[in-house]
Every structure is written in structure tokens, then in C-alpha cells.
């Protein structure tokens, strides 16, 4: 070939290379404009991906196709040796596709974990899904898709699956400072996840590295506006300390909240979920977390009041009445369990308020959801009263002075009465049939304005509704749900009776801690 020909070929190659660069930049720009989702923030974090692309030349696409099909075949064959390696390579080869990561996070957390028989191994498989998500998050920080995926794993899988009792306890325990089982260095190729990393210090506060902001707040952002600062656990700081570890539902809230703020302030859009769903999740997470604390409080209370040998029912609803009749002068209370129960009830009260505020914010943005979430808010109110009452009741049992004891009992009695009233309203509003409401509610009162009923009226009307239900069978399909509220009311009634007896006795005994 002559010299001119060679120069021509070189020129064409260079032009093609330049054109490739221009089109890539244009594509990146277009993508960033459409999605408002930032790409990689650090060039170094993409080193692996570049290194692989360099090694593979033009074979990146075919290799990804082979890896996808072979990893899916392995999953179907339940052969998980080197499965994770293939998924990791897919991640490195397709770092810019969020939907790939969303699938693989879900794939690992659900499809792979379910193939394990032991809960411990299921748990580590789910943590492995979170590790995967974390690696993507490192490469693509503050990305609404990835943060939501992380939150969903915490909420749906670790916080609310059939095995939640095991998962919640392990996350709480391992979030506290502990000796790691894994002795290999994290960058060792054979390193694998065996447990959740500690995220708390000895005082129960979040470790500083999880609260370090990485995104500067824009100067033009109005004061008081939310801002996702990029720190991993930004929204848990307000709930410090965590003496009993961090709940997976708390972590779910943190990530959902970050995603919601990215949507609201940075105008990012989730690839698969609607804006309304993303916006509603923080409130739901806080409600779930509050209910978990409530249940933990119940269990700790049973241990504290009835001794460690007492069998604790596994079903949530069966916990209500176990320790409801404990007398006000109960002896031999377990101090640690008492403290834990008081902490949990108090935290539930705090979370009920926080969740309600989140619901209020969400409903302000999406008024169509106001009716849908009204029942959640009413439940939160009832939970808040009940937990405040239980907290004060337990505090009264260990009060140091008679005055303090009486004061706490009075406070508990007021909260129990409020809880009862709130539960009565819930039953009247949400579980009363139309015919019964028309027939039995006082004039001018409908299911939508039952709050106008006084306490005495509410109790009377509810009794009439229940009698009617027994007689006519109308609304009987709601019996199971109604029983749950009736149990709360039964518990409150028994506690009110205990308090009434205690406060009328002249020498109510006190018990020091």
C-alpha cells in the first residue's frame, strides 16, 4: 500500500474515533438531561469497568450476553458456584444501566436467598444484595433508583418477610459494635459477607463515616428545605442514640427518605416507580418502624414483668393481654428488660409523630392520597396514645417516690383513655357497616365525622354497633381486624382498672430500680 493510502486509513480511523467520542458525550448529556440522575462522581471508582473494557476490546457486549444467560441458567439449576462472580462482572460491564442493577439487587435478595435453607445463609445472601447495591451506590452516588432498591431490601425483605423476626434481630445486634467473623481483608478476592457491619459506636450513635456529607448544599436552596447531602445514614442522625441497635425498617426509612428528597429537590425520577410512590415511602417506613418498636416493647414488657421463663407468644396480637393484668405492686421486675420496654414504647411515640408529619407532607403534595392514608394516621394516633400509656405505666412501677408514681399513673391513665377513645373511633369509622351507621349513629353523625362524638357517646354507640353486628351478622367479615382493636381496648381497660386500684390504695408500694 502506498503512503497516501496509509495516511487516508489513519485519518479515517482518527475521524471515527473522534466521532465516537462526540456521540458518546452527546448520549451521556442527553441521558443526564432526561433522567436528572448523576452518573459516576468519581473516575477512579470506574477503574474496574474501564480495565475490563480495555482487556476485552470489542467483546464487552457478547461477554455480557453470555454472562446473563449463563448466570440465569445457573440460578435455575440451583448451582450458585461463581454465580456472584458473574453478576459482579455484569455490574462492571454494564455500570451505567440502573435497571440492570435494580434487577440484580432484587435477584440476589429474593431469588438467590430463597435457595438457601438456613436462615443465616439466607440472611447473608440478602446482605450480599445490599453489598452489590452499595458498590453501585459508590459508583453512582445519590441515585434515586439505587437508594430506593436498597430501601426496598431493608423494608420488604429484612423488615417484613416471613423470616423478619430473625433478620430484624440480627441487623439490630450486628449494627452495634462487635467483633467481625470475617477475618479476610475486604479487598481479598475470597472475602465474602458473613454479617452486617457495625454502624453504631459504643454510645449507640451512628459512626461518623456514615454521616459525612459528600454533596455541598446549594447556596440558593431556601433555608429549611430538605437537602440530600450524600451521607449514607443522613436521616437516622435525628433518632440517635440506638442503644438496642438499628432496625432494618429504620434503615429503609433512611434510604427511602434520601430517595424522596432527591426526587423533590433534585427532581430525579425513578425508572420504575411513580413519583407518588417514592414520595409516600418514608411515612410508611416510619409507621412500620414504630409498630416494630411497639411489638418489641410488648415482648420486653412480658420479660420484665413476668420473668424470663415466661413463654412469649410468636403472634403479634397474642402479646396484648399477656401482661395486661400485672398488679401495680409487682415485684422482681427485670430492670434491663424494663428499660428496654420503656425505651421501645417511647421510641414508638416518637416515630408515630415523625410518621404523621411525613404523611402530612406527602398528602400536601398528593392530595388524592389523603383518604387512603387517613386510616394509617388514625392508627398512628392510637398507637401513640397506647405506647405513651404503657411507657408511663412501666415508669410508674419503678418510680422512686410515691408522688412520681402517682403522677405517672395519672399520665398513663389519661393516655389509656385517649387510646381507647381513638380505637373506638377507628372501629366506628372504618369497620361499621353502612346500615348500622345509619341506624345507630346519633343524628348528624356519619362515619366521616365520628370525631364529633364525645367519649361517652363513642363508647355507647360502639356497644350498640357490636350488638347489632352480633345480631344481624352485618360487617362480620371484619371480625378479625376488629378483634385486634378490641384487644387494645381490653388491655387499656385492664390497665385502667389496675391504676384505679393502685391510686386508691393509701400506701402504694414503690420499687426502686
Amino acid at each position: 500500500m502506498n503512503r497516501a493510502g496509509r495516511i487516508g486509513i489513519v485519518a479515517v480511523l482518527l475521524a471515527a474515533l473522534a466521532l465516537n467520542g462526540v456521540t458518546r458525550v452527546a448520549a451521556d448529556h442527553m441521558r443526564a438531561t432526561n433522567t436528572s440522575i448523576p452518573g459516576s462522581q468519581t473516575e477512579l471508582s470506574q477503574m474496574n469497568s474501564f480495565a475490563l473494557a480495555l482487556l476485552l476490546g470489542g467483546l464487552r457486549g457478547p461477554l455480557v450476553m453470555i454472562l446473563w444467560s449463563s448466570s440465569e441458567t445457573q440460578k435455575a439449576d440451583k448451582d450458585l458456584e461463581d454465580f456472584d462472580t458473574k453478576v459482579e462482572w455484569i455490574r462492571l460491564l454494564q455500570p451505567e444501566f440502573d435497571t440492570v442493577h435494580l434487577f440484580q439487587i432484587w435477584n440476589k435478595a429474593y431469588n438467590i436467598s430463597v435457595q438457601m435453607a438456613s436462615l443465616a445463609n439466607k440472611y447473608t445472601a440478602i446482605l450480599d444484595a445490599l453489598d452489590y447495591a452499595q458498590r453501585v451506590d459508590d459508583q453512582r452516588p445519590s441515585n434515586i433508583n439505587i437508594l430506593t432498591a436498597i430501601a426496598q431490601v431493608y423494608f420488604d425483605k429484612l423488615g417484613n418477610s416471613n423470616e423478619k423476626g430473625y433478620y430484624r434481630e440480627r441487623i439490630r445486634t450486628e449494627s452495634k459494635p462487635h467483633e467481625l467473623k470475617q477475618k479476610l481483608a475486604r479487598n481479598d478476592p475470597a472475602w465474602r459477607r458473613l454479617e452486617f457491619d457495625p454502624i453504631l459506636d459504643d454510645k449507640g450513635d451512628i459512626l461518623p463515616q456514615y454521616l459525612k456529607p459528600v454533596r455541598a448544599r446549594p447556596s440558593d436552596l431556601p433555608a429549611g428545605s430538605d437537602w440530600e447531602d450524600g451521607s449514607a445514614l443522613q436521616y437516622l442522625k435525628q433518632f440517635e442514640p440506638f442503644p438496642y441497635g438499628v432496625s432494618p425498617l429504620a434503615l429503609a426509612y433512611n434510604y427511602h427518605k434520601r430517595a424522596q428528597v432527591l426526587q423533590t429537590v433534585d427532581h430525579q425520577r425513578h425508572a420504575q416507580l411513580s413519583d407518588m410512590v417514592v414520595d409516600s415511602r418514608p411515612a410508611l417506613d416510619l409507621k412500620g418502624w414504630g409498630e416494630e418498636e411497639w411489638e418489641r416493647g410488648r415482648r420486653a414488657e412480658i420479660r420484665a414483668l413476668m420473668g424470663p421463663g415466661r413463654t412469649i407468644p410468636t403472634e403479634r396480637n397474642d402479646l396484648e393481654l399477656v401482661a395486661a393484668d400485672v398488679p401495680a405492686n409487682a415485684k422482681d421486675l427485670l430492670p434491663e428488660a424494663m428499660q428496654e420496654a420503656i425505651y421501645s414504647y417511647n421510641r414508638a411515640v416518637q416515630l408515630a409523630a415523625a410518621s404523621d408529619a411525613e404523611y402530612a407532607r406527602h398528602i400536601a403534595n398528593y392530595t388524592t392520597n389523603a383518604f387512603l392514608y387517613q386510616s394509617h394516621r388514625d392508627d398512628l394516633k392510637a398507637m401513640s396514645f397506647m405506647c405513651a400509656a404503657d411507657r408511663d405505666f412501666l415508669k410508674a412501677l419503678i418510680a422512686h417516690t410515691p408522688e412520681e408514681r402517682v403522677k405517672l399513673f395519672e399520665s398513663a391513665a389519661k393516655s389509656y383513655a385517649d387510646a381507647n377513645y381513638q380505637n373506638q373511633l377507628i372501629l366506628l369509622q372504618y369497620y361499621t357497616g353502612d346500615n348500622a351507621a345509619q341506624k345507630l349513629f346519633p343524628p348528624g353523625i356519619t362515619r366521616t365525622n365520628v370525631t364529633k362524638l364525645s367519649r361517652e357517646q363513642a363508647a355507647t354507640v360502639l356497644n350498640a354497633v357490636l350488638d347489632d353486628m352480633r345480631r344481624t351478622g352485618e360487617g362480620i367479615q371484619n371480625q378479625e381486624d376488629m378483634t385486634e382493636y378490641m384487644r387494645y381496648m381490653e388491655r387499656a381497660a385492664r390497665r385502667l382498672h389496675t391504676i384505679a386500684s393502685a391510686t386508691t390504695e393509701p400506701a402504694a408500694s414503690t420499687q426502686s430500680q
Binding site: 482487556l55 435457595q115 430473625y166 467473623k181
Partner: protein, 694 residues
């Protein structure tokens, strides 16, 4: 692959062998006889040295450090499931890189060598010397084999050192974690093994001959065996027959087989071992209210009880249900009145069922007996079933067809019992009681080597549970070795298992020593089901050196590189080097590629493709189909005379920690000689006829 295609392959392999012999005889012994007589290994070696020197001068060996760096980088990106998997993946990366490196290097060197020498006229200096073309071809093959050998030595040394380093590091970590008690119970048995023998090994594996699932441990003094109720166990009884066997004994007219149907006469005993669902329900009902279906039907020992039932079905030799339910016993269960199983119970098989059974060349069936009732176990013995062929008249004595048990094979001398069968294998239900269902895996001629007190076994099985457990409930297995000859039973070994993950457990050598033994496994966890196949359990019969195994693996790669060299040189004798490279790849991958397409090359696929293409005109469709079938057949035929590179299986065994069998080396050598020598002869013929110098 269908038997048709397989048959074609066999025919073509034979044709290929004849073709190879013809080429070698014609090309070397007849056409090149003079050159063969003049052949000098010294001259060939000298030519090979030129190839070697040229390759070294071109710094070919410098590519090995690059490959080593690539391996190290890729190894950092692995996410192993455990330490053994980390080593397995590292072996894979190392050997894959080594194989890829030598194949690419060899193809490029060998395919470009001759054309370049001709272009640059370097070949003049060789062909003008008293060297024959045969010596040139063989010399070049030798030269490039030396180059690939050198690459293999470098990569092999790196692989060995790197793996030993990694394995030693990981073994230390395992030791530390074991000492600190930081290992999951499900990993404990395997980790102990890794700590003792290391992560780099080459095992020789022995597999059990079959697998049976019993409701109780078989009593060696009795021929009675037990299978579980609740459809968790079943018995299979073989029957062999000729069509004439089913002609009614008094049919003197048209002698149509199956005219009177048949009767399966079964004797099945039973034992109640737990509450039945009716009893469970009755226990929960308020006093004075009876469960609806607890009405007793049978009087036993003076008491009226509800008898359990069995279902009888007919299976083919693949153990698939052969006859529809209503053809056997009217599709209903039969009551077992007699717990001792002495009273025979007839189960009628309809004439239509027998006709269907006799279709084709079928000469064997299995009578399947399954107990659907929960809370019962069922007993069966070799004499528990016969087939009767009734006469046309009720007075005629029926013909009796006995089960086809084997007198020579003790494993086939009894009804075969198996667990409930699913996609992944047979279920072994868990039971925390002292007795419970047991899997028995007989081994024969499997004497373990060495002299240690313990022998290692591998177990990989699925686990099914309800999936809604809120607290950790591990699946615990109990393994026992039993020697039927001596009656010696080992002490039980208990260990925890994870689903579809290999666990290594140990059993005392005593009962295993003569190689004729049974391994019995019990699942001790209630409500968990172990999913097993016969290959789920294997014995580590012996261990050889990993380094020696690596050497064998590298040797197979070297044989492959020689084959690649021969093909590349053959192509370069008559093609320009770029085309030679492409053709070399096509020849190497042709056989494998056609194997991948095997489903679409089946006879009859042409019809379905014609339909997919919407060809309505029958003549067009026929033309398309026949063309497609002819092309498929041609492709298959061509592929079978191409080398089967799957025979150079260098990595599969070593990755799994299994010793590479001598047969693997022999297979690779066979392909090299069977394909390489004729190609060498052709290369010589082509080169001799090529004008390379004036």
C-alpha cells in the same frame, strides 16, 4: 442428541477413520515414500530450532507476563461462595488464560510462518538445502510445539505458585475461624475437611450404584422392606414379558393378547406410626362432635379401624406412568384389610390397559405401589406382587407372571423403593424420632485407599421446607456406614447441611474397608425434606497430588496446541495467512458448533421451519424441507470428520478438585493422532506440490 443423529455420527466417525488411514497411507506411504525413507530427525529438529529461535526473537514469551497480569486482575473481581469456590474460580481463570494464550499464539505463529517465509523468500534457504518437505512440515510442528510447551511451562509455574499461595492463605483463615468458633454450622464439616487436607486437591471419586428410600432401616435378617405413607414413598416391582404371556390360557381362537386384561395380586402390610389426619382433626374437635370421615371399616384384633389404602399404577422403564389411572384398579385406592400383608388383594388391569401396555416393542414394566395415607408405613417383600392373566372362563386357572428380580444382582433382587419424586430428585422426609425414613446408597468395589481412620464423603442435596420459619432451624443429617457382609455398622456422624452446597463428612473406615458397603442417611429435622439423587453422595476414594493433576491438565493443553499447530500449518500450505487463520478456527470449532446446533439439525425440524415460514404451497414446502434436511445431514457429516476439541477437557476435573483420569489423556491423544497425522500428511502433500522457490 437423538439416536438417529448419534448413529450418523458413529457411521461418520468410522468413515472419518477410513479417510484418515487412506490419507496417511496415500500421502506418506505411497506418495511420500521416498521422503519418508530419507526422513532425518536431526534435520527436522534443526528446522524446529529455527521456528523456536524466530519465535523467541519475536518476543513471543513476553506475552506470558501480560496473561499473568490479566489473570491476577480478573481474580480480584471474583465473588466466591466460599473458600473452595475461590480456589476453583482461580484455577478456572488460570487455565482458561493459559489455554487461550497458547491457542491464539500457536494459531498466529503457525498460520503466518510459511506464507511469510515464502513472501520474504526465507524459504529459499531451507528448500535449497537437502531437506525434504516432510522434514519441513514436521520440523515446524515440532518448533511450535516447543514454543507452546515453553508458554505452558511458564504459565504452569505461575498457576501452581499462585494457587499454592492463595490456598495456603485461605487455609490459614479457615483454621483461624474454626479455632475462634466463627464458622456457620452448615459449613463446619466441610471447613474441618479443608483445614485437614487443604483446598488444593485431586480426588478420585466413587459413586453409589443406586439409591433407595425406606421408611425404616432395612433388617438384614428379613426380606420385608418398608416405605412411607402420605405418598412420600413408593415401591416399584419389575415385570418382564412377551406379548404371548398376555394371551388368556383358554383362548384357543384368535389368541389376542390382553383380551381378558390382567390382575395384579398384591400383598402389602402396614403399620400405623402416627395419628392420621382424621385423628388429628378429631383431637381438636369439641367433646361430643365426631370428625366426619373416621368411620371404621375393618375389624383388626377385635377392634374396628379404618384401613389404609394403596394405589397401584403401571410405569414404563423410564418410570413414567404408562397407563391412565382408570385402567388400573379403576383409578381408586384399594383397602388393605390385613396389616400383616398376608392376604392377597386383586387389582384389575383392563384389557384396554394391557393393549396399551403391549404397544411397540415393550417387554418390561414396573408395577408402582404407593401409600397415600398419612400416619402409616407400608411393608413389601419380594413375593408381594404377581400378575395373573385370567382365562375366558371363570373355571380356568389363570397364568401367573412372576416379578423379574435378578438372581445375580442383589441390588435388583427385591422391590425397589424410592421417595416421592420431584424435579430435583427424591425426597427424604425429616424426623427427629429415633427411627425414621432412611436413604440407602450401596457402593461396590469401592475400597478406600490410604490408612486413615476416617474416610471422607461428599454430599450435595436440595432442601425443602415450609419457608416461613422465623427462627433458625438447620437441617441436620445423620450418616452411618454399614457393611452387609460383616454386619458391621459405624457410629453415626451428624452434621448440618445447606441446600445445594457441597458438604464433606467423615465416616469410620471399618465397615468400608472391603469396598462393599452401604451409606445410610437420615434427615433429623422435622418438616424439612432432603432432595437427593444417586449422584448426590460420593466417596473420596483417594487423593493425589494437585501438582501432578495440574501437570496432566497442562499436558492436555499441550496436545491441543500441537493439533492447532498442525491444522494451522496445513491451512497455511495452500492459503494466505489471514484466510488460514480463519479456516483453522473453523476446523477447530466446526464439530463443537454443530453439536451446539444439534436440536435444530434433528430430522423433521425442516417441516416445522417450513410451517414457521408460512409456506402454504406443498411443493415449495417439500422442496424447502428436503433441502433443509439434506443440508443438515451434510453439515452433521462434515462436522464428524472435524476434530472434537471437547476431548481436550483440561479444566473441568481439576476445577472440581477431581483427579484427571488417564482416559482423558488417552481421548486427547486419540483425537490428536486421529486428526493430526492425516492433516500432517496432507500438509506435506500440499507443500510438496507448492512452488515455493524457483
Amino acid at each position: 442428541m437423538s439416536s438417529h443423529l448419534l448413529g450418523d455420527f458413529e457411521i461418520s466417525n468410522f468413515t472419518g477413520a477410513i479417510l484418515g488411514v487412506v490419507i496417511v497411507v496415500g500421502g506418506l506411504l505411497i506418495y511420500g515414500f521416498r521422503d519418508l525413507l530419507r526422513f532425518s530427525i536431526t534435520r527436522a529438529w534443526a528446522i524446529s530450532s529455527v521456528c523456536w529461535s524466530e519465535s523467541i526473537r519475536r518476543k513471543v514469551l513476553w506475552i506470558t507476563p501480560l496473561a499473568i497480569i490479566g489473570v491476577i486482575i480478573v481474580a480480584q473481581l471474583q465473588r466466591p461462595s466460599d473458600e473452595q469456590d475461590a480456589i476453583r474460580q482461580t484455577i478456572k481463570f488460570c487455565l482458561f488464560a493459559t489455554g487461550l494464550l497458547i491457542v491464539i499464539t500457536t494459531i498466529i505463529l503457525a498460520a503466518t510462518n510459511l506464507p511469510k517465509e515464502i513472501d520474504t523468500r526465507v524459504i529459499y534457504t531451507v528448500v535449497t538445502k537437502p531437506t525434504t518437505r516432510l522434514e519441513i512440515v514436521i520440523g515446524k510442528v515440532l518448533g511450535f510445539a516447543r514454543v507452546s510447551g515453553a508458554i505452558l511451562i511458564i504459565m504452569g509455574l505461575f498457576t501452581g505458585l499462585y494457587l499454592h499461595l492463595r490456598a495456603s492463605f485461605l487455609r490459614d483463615d479457615i483454621r483461624q475461624r474454626l479455632e475462634a468458633g466463627l464458622v456457620n454450622p452448615t459449613d463446619l464439616a466441610s471447613y474441618q475437611h479443608y483445614k485437614d487436607v487443604g483446598l488444593l486437591n485431586a480426588k478420585t471419586i466413587e459413586m453409589p450404584k443406586q439409591m433407595e428410600v425406606f421408611a425404616r432401616v432395612p433388617d438384614p435378617k428379613s426380606k420385608v422392606r418398608w416405605f412411607s405413607g402420605n405418598s412420600e414413598g413408593e415401591a416399584l416391582i419389575p415385570f418382564e414379558f412377551k406379548k404371548e404371556d398376555f394371551i388368556a390360557p383358554d383362548d384357543n381362537q384368535d389368541k389376542t393378547p390382553g383380551k381378558t386384561g390382567a390382575v395384579a395380586l398384591i400383598k402389602i402390610g402396614w403399620d400405623q406410626v402416627g395419628p392420621t389426619p382424621e385423628e388429628q382433626r378429631a383431637g381438636k374437635l369439641p367433646i361430643g362432635i365426631a370428625a366426619p370421615d373416621t368411620k371404621p371399616t375393618t375389624r383388626i384384633a377385635g377392634k374396628l379401624v379404618r384401613a389404609p389404602q394403596v394405589m397401584v399404577r403401571v410405569y414404563d422403564t423410564n418410570l413414567n406412568q404408562l397407563l391412565p389411572g382408570n385402567a388400573v384398579g379403576n383409578g381408586k385406592g384399594v383397602d388393605l384389610a390385613d396389616p400383616a400383608g398376608i392376604t392377597p388383594i386383586p387389582v384389575y388391569i383392563t384389557p384396554q390397559g394391557i393393549q396399551q401396555m403391549l404397544q411397540g416393542d415393550r417387554t418390561k414394566i414396573f408395577l408402582n405401589i404407593i401409600g397415600p395415607n398419612k400416619g402409616y408405613e407400608y411393608s413389601i417383600a419380594p413375593d408381594s406382587a404377581v400378575l395373573l392373566i385370567p382365562g375366558m372362563s371363570e373355571q380356568t386357572q389363570p397364568k401367573v407372571l412372576q416379578p423379574a428380580y435378578s438372581n445375580n444382582n442383589p441390588l435388583a433382587a427385591m422391590p425397589f423403593l424410592r421417595g416421592r419424586y420431584g424435579m430435583g430428585g427424591e425426597q427424604l422426609p425429616g424426623s427427629s424420632k429415633e427411627t425414621g425414613p432412611v436413604v440407602v446408597l450401596p457402593f461396590s468395589n469401592a475400597a478406600p485407599s490410604g490408612s486413615g481412620a476416617q474416610v471422607s464423603f461428599q454430599l450435595r442435596a436440595g432442601i425443602e421446607n415450609s419457608g416461613d420459619e422465623d427462627t433458625e432451624k438447620l437441617t441436620q443429617i445423620e450418616a452411618v456406614a454399614y457393611n452387609p457382609k460383616s454386619g458391621e455398622t459405624s457410629s453415626p456422624t451428624k452434621f448440618y447441611l445447606e441446600a445445594n452446597r457441597q458438604t464433606i463428612f467423615q465416616l469410620p473406615r471399618g465397615p468400608l474397608a472391603d469396598g462393599q458397603f452401604e451409606i445410610r442417611l437420615r434427615n433429623l429435622t422435622d418438616d424439612h425434606y432432603l432432595i437427593l439423587r444417586p449422584d448426590s453422595v460420593s466417596m473420596i476414594q483417594s487423593m493425589e497430588s494437585f501438582d501432578f493433576n495440574l501437570l496432566k491438565s497442562l499436558f492436555i493443553l499441550w496436545l491441543m496446541s500441537i493439533l492447532v499447530t498442525v491444522i494451522a500449518i496445513f491451512c497455511s500450505t495452500w492459503l494466505s495467512w489471514p484466510i488460514a487463520i480463519v479456516l483453522t478456527l473453523v476446523i477447530l470449532l466446526g464439530h463443537w458448533g454443530v453439536q451446539q446446533l444439534s436440536d435444530t439439525l434433528q430430522p423433521g425440524v425442516g417441516n416445522s421451519i417450513a410451517q414457521d415460514l408460512g409456506l402454504q404451497d406443498p411443493s415449495k414446502a417439500k422442496a424447502f424441507t428436503s433441502s433443509y434436511e439434506a443440508l443438515s445431514k451434510g453439515l452433521v457429516a462434515v462436522s464428524t470428520i472435524l476434530p472434537d476439541i471437547s476431548q481436550f477437557s483440561a479444566t473441568e476435573d481439576i476445577e472440581k478438585g477431581v483427579a484427571i483420569a488417564p482416559q482423558r489423556l488417552f481421548d486427547a491423544l486419540t483425537v490428536l493422532l486421529g486428526f493430526g497425522v492425516p492433516m500432517l500428511a496432507l500438509s506435506y502433500v500440499f507443500l510438496r506440490n507448492k512452488e515455493v522457490a524457483p
